[in-house]
Symmetry: C2
Protein backbone atom coordinates (compact mmCIF):
# COMPACT_ATOMS: atom_id res chain seq x y z
CA UNK A 1 0.00 0.00 0.00
CA UNK A 2 2.26 2.76 -1.26
CA UNK A 3 1.72 6.37 -0.22
CA UNK A 4 0.08 5.71 3.11
CA UNK A 5 2.83 7.54 4.93
CA UNK A 6 2.56 10.56 2.73
CA UNK A 7 -1.20 10.39 3.07
CA UNK A 8 -1.01 10.77 6.84
CA UNK A 9 1.18 13.83 6.50
CA UNK A 10 -1.12 15.27 3.87
CA UNK A 11 -4.12 14.95 6.13
CA UNK A 12 -2.27 16.40 9.08
CA UNK A 13 -1.40 19.42 6.96
CA UNK A 14 -4.89 19.70 5.52
CA UNK A 15 -6.39 19.59 9.02
CA UNK A 16 -4.04 22.33 10.17
CA UNK A 17 -4.75 24.41 7.08
CA UNK A 18 -8.48 24.01 7.56
CA UNK A 19 -8.19 25.42 11.07
CA UNK A 20 -6.42 28.48 9.73
CA UNK A 21 -8.80 28.86 6.82
CA UNK A 22 -11.88 28.77 9.02
CA UNK A 23 -10.33 31.08 11.57
CA UNK A 24 -8.79 33.71 9.33
CA UNK A 25 -9.66 33.12 5.70
CA UNK A 26 -7.78 32.17 2.58
CA UNK A 27 -5.38 35.09 2.82
CA UNK A 28 -4.12 33.80 6.16
CA UNK A 29 -2.95 30.47 4.77
CA UNK A 30 0.84 30.69 5.08
CA UNK A 31 3.33 27.87 4.68
CA UNK A 32 4.83 28.58 8.10
CA UNK A 33 1.48 28.95 9.83
CA UNK A 34 0.19 25.67 8.47
CA UNK A 35 3.29 23.63 9.23
CA UNK A 36 3.71 24.98 12.75
CA UNK A 37 0.01 24.42 13.47
CA UNK A 38 0.51 20.87 12.23
CA UNK A 39 3.62 20.45 14.35
CA UNK A 40 5.89 19.58 11.46
CA UNK A 41 8.77 21.30 9.78
CA UNK A 42 8.42 23.90 7.08
CA UNK A 43 9.88 21.66 4.43
CA UNK A 44 7.40 18.87 5.16
CA UNK A 45 4.79 20.79 3.20
CA UNK A 46 6.84 20.35 0.05
CA UNK A 47 7.33 16.63 0.41
CA UNK A 48 3.61 16.11 0.97
CA UNK A 49 2.37 18.60 -1.67
CA UNK A 50 3.86 20.03 -4.80
CA UNK A 51 3.40 23.52 -3.42
CA UNK A 52 1.02 25.64 -1.37
CA UNK A 53 -1.44 25.98 -4.22
CA UNK A 54 -1.87 22.24 -4.48
CA UNK A 55 -2.46 22.04 -0.75
CA UNK A 56 -5.20 24.65 -1.09
CA UNK A 57 -6.73 22.65 -3.92
CA UNK A 58 -6.78 19.72 -1.52
CA UNK A 59 -8.64 21.86 0.99
CA UNK A 60 -11.12 22.96 -1.64
CA UNK A 61 -11.56 19.36 -2.61
CA UNK A 62 -12.76 18.60 0.91
CA UNK A 63 -15.11 21.56 0.86
CA UNK A 64 -16.61 20.56 -2.46
CA UNK A 65 -17.23 17.06 -1.15
CA UNK A 66 -19.17 18.48 1.80
CA UNK A 67 -21.07 20.88 -0.41
CA UNK A 68 -21.91 18.06 -2.77
CA UNK A 69 -23.35 16.04 0.11
CA UNK A 70 -25.37 18.99 1.36
CA UNK A 71 -26.88 19.54 -2.08
CA UNK A 72 -27.65 15.87 -2.52
CA UNK A 73 -29.38 15.76 0.84
CA UNK A 74 -31.47 18.80 -0.01
CA UNK A 75 -32.63 17.38 -3.34
CA UNK A 76 -33.44 13.98 -1.93
CA UNK A 77 -35.87 15.37 0.62
CA UNK A 78 -38.07 17.08 -1.95
CA UNK A 79 -40.41 15.95 -4.69
CA UNK A 80 -40.87 17.68 -8.00
CA UNK A 81 -38.13 19.17 -10.13
CA UNK A 82 -38.93 22.84 -9.68
CA UNK A 83 -39.03 22.47 -5.92
CA UNK A 84 -35.83 20.49 -6.09
CA UNK A 85 -34.21 23.32 -8.01
CA UNK A 86 -35.30 25.72 -5.31
CA UNK A 87 -33.99 23.35 -2.64
CA UNK A 88 -30.64 23.21 -4.42
CA UNK A 89 -30.33 26.98 -4.50
CA UNK A 90 -31.32 27.40 -0.87
CA UNK A 91 -28.97 24.62 0.22
CA UNK A 92 -26.21 26.36 -1.67
CA UNK A 93 -27.00 29.60 0.14
CA UNK A 94 -27.13 27.82 3.48
CA UNK A 95 -23.82 26.12 2.94
CA UNK A 96 -22.18 29.39 1.95
CA UNK A 97 -23.63 31.17 4.96
CA UNK A 98 -22.60 28.39 7.35
CA UNK A 99 -19.07 28.02 5.94
CA UNK A 100 -18.27 31.45 4.57
CA UNK A 101 -14.49 31.21 4.52
CA UNK A 102 -14.21 27.71 3.14
CA UNK A 103 -16.86 28.52 0.57
CA UNK A 104 -15.12 31.74 -0.43
CA UNK A 105 -11.82 29.89 -0.82
CA UNK A 106 -13.48 27.74 -3.46
CA UNK A 107 -13.69 30.72 -5.79
CA UNK A 108 -11.20 33.23 -4.46
CA UNK A 109 -8.23 30.97 -4.91
CA UNK A 110 -6.46 31.37 -8.22
CA UNK A 111 -3.71 29.28 -9.69
CA UNK A 112 -0.54 31.14 -10.69
CA UNK A 113 -0.49 32.26 -14.34
CA UNK A 114 -0.03 29.46 -16.87
CA UNK A 115 -0.63 26.83 -14.19
CA UNK A 116 -3.71 24.85 -15.18
CA UNK A 117 -6.15 23.56 -12.60
CA UNK A 118 -5.61 19.78 -12.45
CA UNK A 119 -8.21 17.66 -14.17
CA UNK A 120 -9.24 15.86 -11.00
CA UNK A 121 -10.23 19.19 -9.47
CA UNK A 122 -12.12 20.35 -12.55
CA UNK A 123 -14.00 17.08 -12.35
CA UNK A 124 -15.09 17.90 -8.82
CA UNK A 125 -16.55 21.18 -9.98
CA UNK A 126 -18.21 19.29 -12.78
CA UNK A 127 -19.86 16.96 -10.32
CA UNK A 128 -21.57 19.93 -8.67
CA UNK A 129 -22.91 21.05 -12.01
CA UNK A 130 -24.09 17.53 -12.74
CA UNK A 131 -26.40 17.77 -9.75
CA UNK A 132 -28.14 20.73 -11.32
CA UNK A 133 -28.26 18.98 -14.68
CA UNK A 134 -29.89 15.94 -13.15
CA UNK A 135 -32.77 18.03 -11.80
CA UNK A 136 -33.05 19.94 -15.05
CA UNK A 137 -33.44 16.65 -16.87
CA UNK A 138 -36.67 16.01 -14.99
CA UNK A 139 -37.85 19.56 -15.43
CA UNK A 140 -37.25 19.84 -19.16
CA UNK A 141 -36.75 16.36 -20.61
CA UNK A 142 -36.84 17.64 -24.19
CA UNK A 143 -33.65 19.64 -23.89
CA UNK A 144 -30.60 18.22 -25.64
CA UNK A 145 -27.72 17.19 -23.40
CA UNK A 146 -25.64 20.10 -24.63
CA UNK A 147 -28.37 22.62 -24.02
CA UNK A 148 -29.07 21.15 -20.64
CA UNK A 149 -25.43 21.48 -19.65
CA UNK A 150 -25.42 25.09 -20.77
CA UNK A 151 -28.66 25.82 -18.99
CA UNK A 152 -27.36 24.23 -15.79
CA UNK A 153 -24.26 26.35 -15.95
CA UNK A 154 -26.25 29.50 -16.47
CA UNK A 155 -28.48 28.70 -13.55
CA UNK A 156 -25.58 27.80 -11.33
CA UNK A 157 -23.74 30.95 -12.28
CA UNK A 158 -26.69 33.16 -11.57
CA UNK A 159 -27.43 31.60 -8.20
CA UNK A 160 -23.77 31.71 -7.34
CA UNK A 161 -23.60 35.36 -8.30
CA UNK A 162 -26.55 36.24 -6.11
CA UNK A 163 -25.21 34.31 -3.13
CA UNK A 164 -21.68 35.61 -3.56
CA UNK A 165 -22.49 39.28 -3.77
CA UNK A 166 -24.99 38.87 -0.95
CA UNK A 167 -22.42 37.43 1.41
CA UNK A 168 -19.66 39.74 0.33
CA UNK A 169 -21.53 42.82 1.49
CA UNK A 170 -19.85 44.80 -1.23
CA UNK A 171 -23.01 46.78 -1.45
CA UNK A 172 -25.32 47.48 1.42
CA UNK A 173 -25.85 44.78 4.02
CA UNK A 174 -28.81 42.50 3.47
CA UNK A 175 -30.78 40.45 5.94
CA UNK A 176 -30.46 36.69 5.38
CA UNK A 177 -34.19 36.16 5.02
CA UNK A 178 -34.39 38.77 2.28
CA UNK A 179 -31.76 36.88 0.30
CA UNK A 180 -33.73 33.65 0.64
CA UNK A 181 -36.88 35.33 -0.55
CA UNK A 182 -35.05 36.91 -3.44
CA UNK A 183 -33.51 33.60 -4.46
CA UNK A 184 -36.90 31.91 -4.37
CA UNK A 185 -38.48 34.67 -6.40
CA UNK A 186 -35.61 34.56 -8.82
CA UNK A 187 -36.02 30.86 -9.45
CA UNK A 188 -39.76 31.11 -9.76
CA UNK A 189 -39.36 33.74 -12.44
CA UNK A 190 -36.63 31.90 -14.27
CA UNK A 191 -38.40 28.57 -14.25
CA UNK A 192 -41.72 30.06 -15.30
CA UNK A 193 -39.90 30.70 -18.56
CA UNK A 194 -41.13 31.80 -21.96
Amino acid sequence: MPGTKREIMREKLLDAAEVQLIANGLGALKARGITSEAGVSLGALYTAFEDLDLLILGLNSRTIAELHQALAAAVSQIEGPSYQLEALALAYLDFAAANPRRWAALFDHQMPPDTPVPDWHLAEHGALLAQVEAVLESLEPDLSADMRALRARTLFSAVHGIVKLSLERRFVALEPEAVRAELRDFLRRYIAGP
Copy 2:
Protein backbone atom coordinates in the same frame (compact mmCIF):
# COMPACT_ATOMS: atom_id res chain seq x y z
CA MET B 1 -4.63 74.46 -6.17
CA PRO B 2 -3.27 71.97 -3.69
CA GLY B 3 -2.43 68.43 -4.72
CA THR B 4 -1.75 69.08 -8.38
CA LYS B 5 1.82 67.87 -8.03
CA ARG B 6 0.80 64.71 -6.29
CA GLU B 7 -1.92 64.27 -8.89
CA ILE B 8 0.59 64.14 -11.73
CA MET B 9 2.59 61.48 -9.94
CA ARG B 10 -0.58 59.53 -9.20
CA GLU B 11 -1.56 59.48 -12.84
CA LYS B 12 1.91 58.52 -13.96
CA LEU B 13 1.76 55.57 -11.57
CA LEU B 14 -1.76 54.66 -12.59
CA ASP B 15 -0.79 54.72 -16.27
CA ALA B 16 2.15 52.46 -15.58
CA ALA B 17 0.04 50.12 -13.47
CA GLU B 18 -2.60 49.97 -16.16
CA VAL B 19 -0.01 48.81 -18.67
CA GLN B 20 1.03 46.01 -16.36
CA LEU B 21 -2.54 45.09 -15.51
CA ILE B 22 -3.59 44.83 -19.14
CA ALA B 23 -0.43 42.93 -20.07
CA ASN B 24 -0.22 40.46 -17.22
CA GLY B 25 -3.22 40.72 -14.93
CA LEU B 26 -3.83 41.75 -11.36
CA GLY B 27 -1.35 39.27 -9.95
CA ALA B 28 1.47 40.93 -11.86
CA LEU B 29 0.99 44.32 -10.22
CA LYS B 30 4.14 44.70 -8.13
CA ALA B 31 5.38 47.84 -6.45
CA ARG B 32 8.74 47.59 -8.19
CA GLY B 33 7.26 46.79 -11.56
CA ILE B 34 4.92 49.74 -11.47
CA THR B 35 7.46 52.29 -10.28
CA SER B 36 10.15 51.21 -12.71
CA GLU B 37 7.65 51.22 -15.59
CA ALA B 38 6.70 54.73 -14.50
CA GLY B 39 10.35 55.74 -14.28
CA VAL B 40 10.20 56.82 -10.66
CA SER B 41 11.67 55.46 -7.48
CA LEU B 42 10.15 52.69 -5.42
CA GLY B 43 9.32 55.01 -2.54
CA ALA B 44 7.39 57.39 -4.81
CA LEU B 45 4.47 54.98 -4.76
CA TYR B 46 4.06 55.57 -1.05
CA THR B 47 4.06 59.33 -1.23
CA ALA B 48 1.43 59.28 -3.96
CA PHE B 49 -0.74 56.50 -2.52
CA GLU B 50 -1.27 55.15 0.93
CA ASP B 51 -0.23 51.70 -0.26
CA LEU B 52 -0.47 49.34 -3.21
CA ASP B 53 -4.09 48.47 -2.45
CA LEU B 54 -5.17 52.07 -2.72
CA LEU B 55 -3.36 52.38 -6.03
CA ILE B 56 -5.28 49.36 -7.30
CA LEU B 57 -8.51 50.94 -6.12
CA GLY B 58 -7.55 53.95 -8.18
CA LEU B 59 -7.11 51.70 -11.20
CA ASN B 60 -10.47 50.07 -10.60
CA SER B 61 -11.97 53.50 -10.30
CA ARG B 62 -10.86 54.25 -13.84
CA THR B 63 -12.23 50.96 -15.10
CA ILE B 64 -15.59 51.54 -13.45
CA ALA B 65 -15.83 54.96 -15.05
CA GLU B 66 -15.29 53.41 -18.49
CA LEU B 67 -17.73 50.63 -17.80
CA HIS B 68 -20.29 53.16 -16.60
CA GLN B 69 -19.95 55.07 -19.85
CA ALA B 70 -20.28 51.91 -21.92
CA LEU B 71 -23.46 50.94 -20.11
CA ALA B 72 -24.91 54.41 -20.42
CA ALA B 73 -24.21 54.44 -24.15
CA ALA B 74 -25.87 51.06 -24.58
CA VAL B 75 -29.02 52.10 -22.75
CA SER B 76 -29.33 55.41 -24.54
CA GLN B 77 -29.44 53.77 -27.97
CA ILE B 78 -32.43 51.61 -27.19
CA GLU B 79 -36.11 52.24 -26.53
CA GLY B 80 -38.23 50.26 -24.09
CA PRO B 81 -37.17 49.10 -20.67
CA SER B 82 -36.93 45.39 -21.32
CA TYR B 83 -34.76 45.92 -24.38
CA GLN B 84 -32.71 48.38 -22.37
CA LEU B 85 -32.17 45.72 -19.72
CA GLU B 86 -31.00 43.34 -22.40
CA ALA B 87 -28.73 46.05 -23.82
CA LEU B 88 -27.22 46.60 -20.37
CA ALA B 89 -26.45 42.93 -19.90
CA LEU B 90 -24.92 42.57 -23.35
CA ALA B 91 -22.88 45.74 -22.91
CA TYR B 92 -21.62 44.34 -19.64
CA LEU B 93 -20.60 41.14 -21.38
CA ASP B 94 -18.95 43.06 -24.20
CA PHE B 95 -16.97 45.22 -21.83
CA ALA B 96 -15.80 42.21 -19.87
CA ALA B 97 -14.79 40.39 -23.04
CA ALA B 98 -12.98 43.42 -24.43
CA ASN B 99 -11.16 44.26 -21.19
CA PRO B 100 -10.83 40.94 -19.43
CA ARG B 101 -7.98 41.76 -17.08
CA ARG B 102 -9.16 45.17 -16.01
CA TRP B 103 -12.65 43.81 -15.56
CA ALA B 104 -11.41 40.85 -13.54
CA ALA B 105 -9.39 43.17 -11.30
CA LEU B 106 -12.65 44.88 -10.35
CA PHE B 107 -13.75 41.78 -8.50
CA ASP B 108 -10.62 39.77 -7.88
CA HIS B 109 -8.95 42.44 -5.83
CA GLN B 110 -9.56 42.14 -2.10
CA MET B 111 -8.68 44.57 0.63
CA PRO B 112 -6.55 43.17 3.46
CA PRO B 113 -8.56 41.87 6.43
CA ASP B 114 -10.19 44.58 8.55
CA THR B 115 -9.44 47.21 5.94
CA PRO B 116 -12.73 48.63 4.70
CA VAL B 117 -13.26 49.65 1.11
CA PRO B 118 -13.34 53.47 1.12
CA ASP B 119 -16.75 55.07 0.77
CA TRP B 120 -15.87 56.86 -2.46
CA HIS B 121 -15.18 53.49 -4.07
CA LEU B 122 -18.34 51.88 -2.74
CA ALA B 123 -20.19 54.82 -4.24
CA GLU B 124 -18.73 54.03 -7.65
CA HIS B 125 -20.05 50.50 -7.46
CA GLY B 126 -23.36 51.96 -6.36
CA ALA B 127 -23.48 54.13 -9.44
CA LEU B 128 -23.34 51.02 -11.64
CA LEU B 129 -26.25 49.53 -9.76
CA ALA B 130 -28.15 52.77 -10.10
CA GLN B 131 -28.07 52.35 -13.86
CA VAL B 132 -29.91 49.07 -13.53
CA GLU B 133 -32.34 50.58 -11.04
CA ALA B 134 -33.15 53.40 -13.42
CA VAL B 135 -34.22 50.97 -16.13
CA LEU B 136 -36.13 48.86 -13.63
CA GLU B 137 -38.07 51.94 -12.61
CA SER B 138 -39.50 52.17 -16.11
CA LEU B 139 -40.13 48.45 -16.30
CA GLU B 140 -41.91 48.07 -12.97
CA PRO B 141 -42.97 51.50 -11.72
CA ASP B 142 -45.02 50.04 -8.88
CA LEU B 143 -42.04 48.57 -7.05
CA SER B 144 -40.97 50.35 -3.89
CA ALA B 145 -37.55 51.95 -3.94
CA ASP B 146 -36.22 49.33 -1.53
CA MET B 147 -37.57 46.44 -3.54
CA ARG B 148 -36.28 47.99 -6.73
CA ALA B 149 -32.79 48.30 -5.26
CA LEU B 150 -32.90 44.67 -4.17
CA ARG B 151 -34.19 43.52 -7.52
CA ALA B 152 -31.50 45.49 -9.33
CA ARG B 153 -28.86 43.88 -7.19
CA THR B 154 -30.22 40.43 -7.83
CA LEU B 155 -30.30 41.04 -11.55
CA PHE B 156 -26.82 42.50 -11.58
CA SER B 157 -25.48 39.62 -9.52
CA ALA B 158 -26.99 37.03 -11.77
CA VAL B 159 -25.74 38.64 -14.97
CA HIS B 160 -22.35 39.15 -13.40
CA GLY B 161 -22.23 35.52 -12.34
CA ILE B 162 -23.03 34.32 -15.83
CA VAL B 163 -20.49 36.59 -17.45
CA LYS B 164 -17.80 35.82 -14.90
CA LEU B 165 -17.96 32.07 -15.06
CA SER B 166 -18.24 32.23 -18.83
CA LEU B 167 -15.04 34.22 -19.18
CA GLU B 168 -13.17 32.30 -16.51
CA ARG B 169 -13.45 29.05 -18.45
CA ARG B 170 -13.46 27.21 -15.17
CA PHE B 171 -15.72 24.72 -16.84
CA VAL B 172 -15.65 23.85 -20.48
CA ALA B 173 -14.90 26.58 -22.99
CA LEU B 174 -17.90 28.34 -24.47
CA GLU B 175 -18.26 30.21 -27.73
CA PRO B 176 -18.96 33.92 -27.28
CA GLU B 177 -22.15 33.82 -29.30
CA ALA B 178 -23.56 31.07 -27.13
CA VAL B 179 -23.04 33.22 -24.06
CA ARG B 180 -24.86 36.12 -25.69
CA ALA B 181 -27.77 33.90 -26.59
CA GLU B 182 -27.85 32.44 -23.11
CA LEU B 183 -27.82 35.90 -21.53
CA ARG B 184 -30.66 37.03 -23.78
CA ASP B 185 -32.68 33.96 -23.00
CA PHE B 186 -31.96 34.37 -19.32
CA LEU B 187 -33.26 37.94 -19.28
CA ARG B 188 -36.31 37.08 -21.31
CA ARG B 189 -37.22 34.38 -18.83
CA TYR B 190 -36.52 36.52 -15.80
CA ILE B 191 -38.44 39.51 -17.07
CA ALA B 192 -41.37 37.48 -18.29
CA GLY B 193 -41.94 36.24 -14.74
CA PRO B 194 -45.19 36.81 -12.85
